[in-house]
Structures are given as structure tokens and as C-alpha cells.
Symmetry: C2
Subunit: 241 residues, 2 copies
């Protein structure tokens, strides 16, 4: 069984919207509905669980209501009841995994709720790579050069851009592997390390995490400008259909 976990636990603070960006309107429906639809359409996905509502945010009840409304309107057949988010992304994923209670052979796909342009093709390619190698992640080469800077704000080193990945979602892994990676991270105290996502934990476990090419349009909506860009991308997509 292949289970999608869509993480939508943010608070919208970066957007200055006063509400979670996954509920912003994009075309005729919220960002999150676009995300769910891609997983609904993939023939390889068996269930979809949305993790929503940051317990530290005032919007927690509104967020749950918004997920219910999306589900009721669109009538997604694979959508399970939504699960309450945690204070961090990693804790949100944890809550989703507990609710799923998968078996070791199941594959878990983790998806950002704020990436409305995830495609069926990308989902299927990530799944295929996870099937072959145990785990997979997707991303693109960063557009800008990337440097590491020192704590006092000087350039330390420049990375070879051709060896870098700007990480997108979905990421996927067999539950047996992911469970082990999360246990190790919890025991060694880096489960909630900033900047780490599940693919990072898997790599730290020593698991093979295959990189699948994503595409630049698979943006994560984090600022008002991103939402404007997303509208433009959506319109140009519809014109080419």
C-alpha cells in the first residue's frame, strides 16, 4: 500500500496572511485542493491523509474546518480523516504516521501542502524510485550559487552547484526504513533539527535515498509573491491544455 501524508501544519506567519498559506485561493480552489487532487489522480496511491492545524496557532480550529470543506466539496475518494498537526514539521509527520499505523512494506509519501504543482508523473517517479532503492526524494539544481557562511557572516566555502539539490516534495520511503530512521533521530536528538526533513534522516541512517528530478514550477508557496507566480503558472498551464 502507498500512503500519502500531506503536511499542512504551517501558520501563515511568513505570508503575512493571518492564515495558513495552503488555504489561500489559487484559481478556483485552495492550494491544498490542488495538492490532494494530484495524489487522488495517481493510480498508485491508496490513501491520502492531511496533517493540518498547528496547535500553537490561533487558526487551528479554522484549519481543520477548511480541510473538511475541501474534502466535502471535491469528494476525494482516497482522503482519510485529517490528523492534527504538531508544533514542528517533523512532529506533524509523526502524528500522521501514528494515525496511519502502516506495515513495514508500505510506502509513505510525504508531501508539502504548499506545493500545488506536484504532478501525477512526479509522484509516480518518486514512488518507482522508492520501490527500487527503498527511499527517494525529488528536487532541482538551485538557480543561485550556494555558499556556506560562518557564524560571524563571512563566506566560508562555495559549493559546486552541479552537486546540489534544492529539495522539493514528494519524498517517499518504505515504512520499515523510515521508522528506523526516525527512531535513530529521536534517540540521538536530531529529529527536530532545523532544515532536516525525512530524506535527511534516512541518509543519516545510511539508507540509499535516490534523487529524482523535479521541475522549477514545483514551487512551495511561502510568500505573497509566490502566490502571484502560482496564479500565472496555473493560467499558462490551463492555456496549454
Amino acid at each position: 500500500m502507498n500512503h500519502a501524508l500531506i503536511v499542512a501544519g504551517g501558520t501563515g506567519s511568513r505570508m503575512g496572511l493571518g492564515y495558513n498559506k495552503v488555504f489561500a485561493q489559487l484559481g478556483s480552489e485552495p492550494v491544498l485542493a490542488h495538492v490532494i487532487r494530484a495524489f487522488e489522480r495517481s493510480a498508485n496511491i491508496d490513501s491520502i491523509t492531511v496533517v493540518a492545524g498547528n496547535p500553537d496557532a490561533e487558526t487551528v480550529d479554522a484549519d481543520h474546518g477548511a480541510v473538511s470543506e475541501i474534502a466535502a466539496r471535491a469528494g476525494f475518494s482516497k482522503l482519510r480523516p485529517s490528523v492534527a498537526g504538531g508544533s514542528t514539521r517533523m512532529q506533524s509527520v509523526e502524528n500522521g504516521l501514528r494515525a496511519l499505523a502502516p506495515s513495514d512494506e508500505d510506502v509513505i509519501l510525504i508531501q508539502d501542502g504548499g506545493r500545488p504543482f506536484v504532478s501525477v508523473e512526479l509522484i509516480d517517479r518518486v514512488l518507482e524510485a522508492a520501490d527500487e532503492f527503498g527511499a527517494a526524494v525529488c528536487g532541482v539544481r538551485p538557480k543561485d550559487s550556494i555558499q556556506t557562511i560562518s557564524a560571524d557572516g563571512f563566506v566560508e566555502r562555495t559549493h559546486q552547484r552541479s552537486a546540489l539539490l534544492a529539495v522539493h516534495t514528494p519524498a517517499a520511503a518504505h515504512w520499515g526504513l523510515l521508522r528506523e530512521a526516525r527512531e535513530k533521530a529521536r534517540n540521538e536528538g536530531y529529529l527536530d533539527a532545523p532544515g532536516y526533513e525525512d530524506s535527511a534522516l534516512l541518509a543519516l541512517l545510511g539508507a540509499k535515498v535516490k534523487v529524482v528530478p523535479s521541475f522549477y514550477e514545483n514551487i512551495k508557496i511561502t510568500s505573497p509573491e509566490d502566490l502571484v507566480l502560482a496564479e500565472t503558472l496555473l493560467n499558462s498551464r490551463e492555456e496549454s491544455c
Copy 2:
């Protein structure tokens, strides 16, 4: 003296435009004119040189004509005659530096021709940092997590995003320092290493390169979507003026 070198030697191949993206229309004038204007407006900039025309591209003559047209229309007072580009970004900068023939105490600012939202304030802050520390660069924290991947396409390590810089321009350095960094790079064979810019060469020389915060809107136009986003950013700017 503070000299700006604006590098506009691309071929537009990534844009699928058939022409260099710095000549794409943005609002009422080409992208490059916005860039020149910011340097023209900074009271701390003494001269501006545009390096344009990739010798390997069919558009090389058209590019030189386009720069002349921008200069004639806008009447920029600090703009010097444009200089022919090289096959790589580093060679374009080299051509510009030769034409400038600066003295060791002069400061050189290197600017992407495709970043139309560079601001006078950012230029001045980069200059100030270069004056204080010898060299400076600007950038933002990457929005996505960044991982290093192996040659066969697996995740090798995840970087701490808080210590990373997505490099923007301008970058600036005293000519004495920059000359030394470029000489070392030439002698040791990494002058044209992919992904390296002048701030990378300076750091490899052991020079202090101070990091100045840029802003997310300081985008480099490399795809048709970027140009659409730039139009939107330009409109929202004009509305707020």
C-alpha cells in the same frame, strides 16, 4: 573610485527567447536599463561598464546595438562604452576589468545584468561592507532545503539551511584583492570552474568576504516564468510608490 561592472553576456538559451534575457522588456524598458538605473542613482558609484555580447552567440552584434540603444534613450551619465563579453561569465568579467584598468584602491562591483530589482540601498550596503572588510557579497537564505548528492544520484548530506547563502549580486572587492584572487585562480586552473563567482575566488584566496543580506525580490531572470514574476513585482512596487 567605485566602478560597477554589469555582466550581460548570456545567450538567452535558458529562456528559449532566442535573445539575451537582459534585453527582455520589463515594464517600460529592458531589464538591463533597470539595472543600470540603480547604479546611476547611487551617489557612491563613479562609473558603470556593461559587458555584453557572447562571442559564441549569433546575437553578439544585436546585443551591442541593444546596449547602445539603452544608453542613448536613458542618457545615463556614468555609463562608459560597453565592452565585448567572453565565452564564460568569468571571461566577461575579465574583459570588463581590462577595459577599466583600475588602481588597487578602487572598488569593483560586479552585478548580474539579469537582476532588475537591485536597489540603491543594497548597492550602498555592499560597498560599505567592501570598504570595511575588503570584499563583500550579498544573498538570502535558500527557501528550499539543500542537499549534496553523489555522482550516481543519491543523497549524501543535508546542509544546515541557516548557514547557507543563495548568492545574489552585487558583489564588491578592492581591485588589489580581486586581482590577486583572479591571478591565483588562473594559475591554479579554477578561474572558470562552474558555479564559482568572484566572491568564491576571494574566499579561496583567504580574503574576508562579508555577507550582506539581500532580499527575495532580487531575482535573476533566467526563465519565462521569472519574467512574469518580475512584471508582477514591478507593478506592486509602482503601486506602493
